[in-house]
């Protein structure tokens, strides 16, 4: 009798919501990175972080590379976790701007809030992608009755010993098991 197959009704999308979020974050990463690379002076001036232009450009290269990796990889999970680490570095850098009397502290606070929001999205995405790929707990899918042998396992064992292995598929005599001082037939 043919084994009963599970017929599933599934969402016909090629990607999960977390995959879609990852792609969005990848494009965002590239956009932000290009802004950091191309306009570091304007960015630093608006945040009161003058003198950090080279650092901001380096962060931009990191953002573009991470974004490209997210979009090109078949599994963006490690790159999204990489973004989370990058967010932490960004937040630490922004925090240094609150030291002393920063005339752009308002802008800096807005930027920090924005980065914190993106960090949250990154964490949600990374956790979601990781959960998507977590294997089901043992025993959830009961395949123990799927032997594929309609007459049972005992009857199946060796049932095809009548099969004559073609000459070109037989291993050389010296490599075959030996019985009574010669290769077994």
């Amino acid at each position: 009798m043919t084994q009963p197959a599970m017929t599933r009704t599934v969402n016909p999308r090629a990607r999960s919501a977390h995959d879609a979020l990852a792609r969005g974050l990848g494009w965002f990463s590239i956009g932000l990175g290009l802004a950091e690379i191309l306009a570091p002076r304007a960015l630093c001036r608006s945040l009161g972080l003058e003198g950090r232009e080279t650092l901001v450009q380096a962060y931009g290269v990191r953002e573009v590379a991470t974004g490209a990796a997210i979009l090109m990889s078949h599994d963006p999970t490690p790159w999204i976790w990489g973004r989370v680490a990058g967010d932490a570095v960004d937040l630490a850098t922004l925090a240094t701007g609150f030291e002393g009397d920063n005339p752009r502290a308002g802008n800096l606070a807005l930027a920090t809030a924005a980065v914190a929001g993106v960090t949250l999205a990154d964490i949600v995405c990374a956790q979601g992608l990781t959960a998507d790929k977590r294997p089901a707990p043992s025993g959830r899918f009961e395949y123990h009755n799927r032997s594929g042998f309609p007459r049972g396992l005992a009857a199946a064992h060796g049932a095809a010993r009548d099969f004559a292995v073609p000459r070109d598929f037989r291993i050389p005599g010296p490599l075959r098991p030996w019985r009574d001082g010669r290769p077994a037939a």
Binding site: T9, P135, F149, P150, G158, F169
Partner: protein
């Protein structure tokens, strides 16, 4: 017609495309009644295999009913029920005459590309890159079968598709993997990977009378299915040192026969050597991850056999070839010579020795195909084998 179409990495869509037409006198067109997603399709889905183009129709496990026949095709007639082997064969070249169907010399219409990539051409394949001919695949409502007078397996009516569909690939592939081992009654056969081909290799090794079959995987439901088929199992979640475990299980001697049903995409995050492979892949210095090959070479009993049905596509690194040479190992590998085995396997299905439908875990329509690619790749929802009914 509707078809599953490759658009890029992890991007397969159910599109409307033109119906196929007869292009050569030997052709036939079939109305597809069933098709399946193969583990090797995932190498295309993840874009590890080069040579795909946006717009290519996927699929190489297909069966259906003949609806049109070319004028020179005397072997088929409208209404015949056929399973389509994934290797396209001419039936006339030197290799086909020898039964080496998967290296047919005439059916790859992109021979120059294959010559450059592999040194010599191999057979044309359905839905499997332009290196193997760029033929549209069978995850569709209709399929043109080139060289159809040779490229078919006629099957009787009255047996459900579920039992016959896998004659197209995974059943003969698992069978050939076991036959390549030339299994003796004293043999222990170790099989890496309990996906669909691994499951078929387990059943084949049992049918051919192996003393012990030991299957290796990390996915619980696949291990359960392997045990159902008569294998002992090694759960990679519990045993990280496969070589030591296999040696322990065989009194330190190692298994006589080893089968790699994993291929180029071995799990990339749980061992140092596979992490190394993943890093080299990222910078285009290696195309495949030969983690299983390394383990097989190290654990196989000297003078033993390594059988490799798992697909490799390009270059591999840090393979302990010195161990392989000094241990006198025999390597047997290749795409499957499907038609060489299918008469015998069809008889075994008809006689009730085996029912390959045991492996089907999901049955869906074409529209749900794109989602099922992801589910299958990520081993979610207990997915082991997806059957599609267009």
């Amino acid at each position: 017609m509707k078809a599953l179409v490759w658009h890029g990495t992890a991007d397969i869509r159910c599109d409307t495309v033109p119906d196929p037409t007869i292009e050569d006198g030997r052709d036939a067109i079939i109305k597809v009644t069933s098709c399946a997603i193969c583990g090797s399709d995932l190498h295309l889905y993840d874009h590890f295999m080069p040579g795909m183009k946006s717009g290519d129709i996927m699929g190489h496990e297909t069966m259906g009913e003949v609806v049109e026949v070319g004028r020179d095709n005397k072997a088929l007639k409208v209404g015949d029920r056929i399973v389509v082997p994934f290797t396209i064969i001419c039936g006339q070249c030197d290799q086909c005459k020898r039964g080496n169907f998967s290296v047919c010399e005439r059916t790859n219409r992109n021979k120059t590309l294959a010559d450059a990539a592999f040194g010599h051409t191999t057979a044309g394949l359905f839905g499997y890159t332009h290196l193997t001919g760029g033929y549209p695949g069978g995850q569709a409502e209709y399929l043109r079968v080139p060289f159809a007078d040779a490229t078919h397996i006629k099957v009787p009516k009255g047996i459900p598709d579920e039992k016959l569909l896998f004659l197209s690939d995974i059943f003969p592939t698992g069978w050939q993997a076991a036959v390549q081992c030339d299994i003796q009654p004293e043999d222990t056969v170790a099989i890496w990977g309990c996906g669909p081909v691994g499951q078929m290799a387990i059943r084949s090794a049992i049918l051919l009378g192996a003393k012990r079959v030991i299957a290796i995987d990390r996915v619980p439901e696949r291990l359960t299915m392997a045990r159902a088929g008569g294998a002992e199992t090694i759960d990679l979640n519990e045993e990280s040192n496969v070589v030591a475990t296999l040696n322990d299980m065989t009194n330190g001697k190692g298994p006589e026969k080893c089968i790699d049903s994993v291929g180029m995409e071995a799990h990339a995050t749980t061992s140092l050597d596979s992490l190394y492979d993943r890093a080299k892949q990222a910078v285009m210095l290696e195309s495949d991850r030969p983690h299983v090959l390394r383990q097989m070479i190290m654990v196989c009993r000297p003078a033993g056999v390594l059988s490799i049905p798992g697909v490799y596509g390009g270059l591999i690194d840090k393979v302990p070839f010195g161990a392989a040479m000094n241990k006198g190992l025999t390597f047997r590998m290749g795409q499957t010579h499907v038609n060489r085995w299918t008469d015998d396997l069809l008889r075994r299905i008809e006689e009730g020795q085996i029912d390959p439908s045991f492996v089907i875990t999901h049955t869906v329509g074409l529209e749900q195909g794109p989602e099922m690619y992801r589910t299958f790749r990520d081993k979610q929802d207990g997915c082991i084998k997806v059957m599609i009914r267009p």
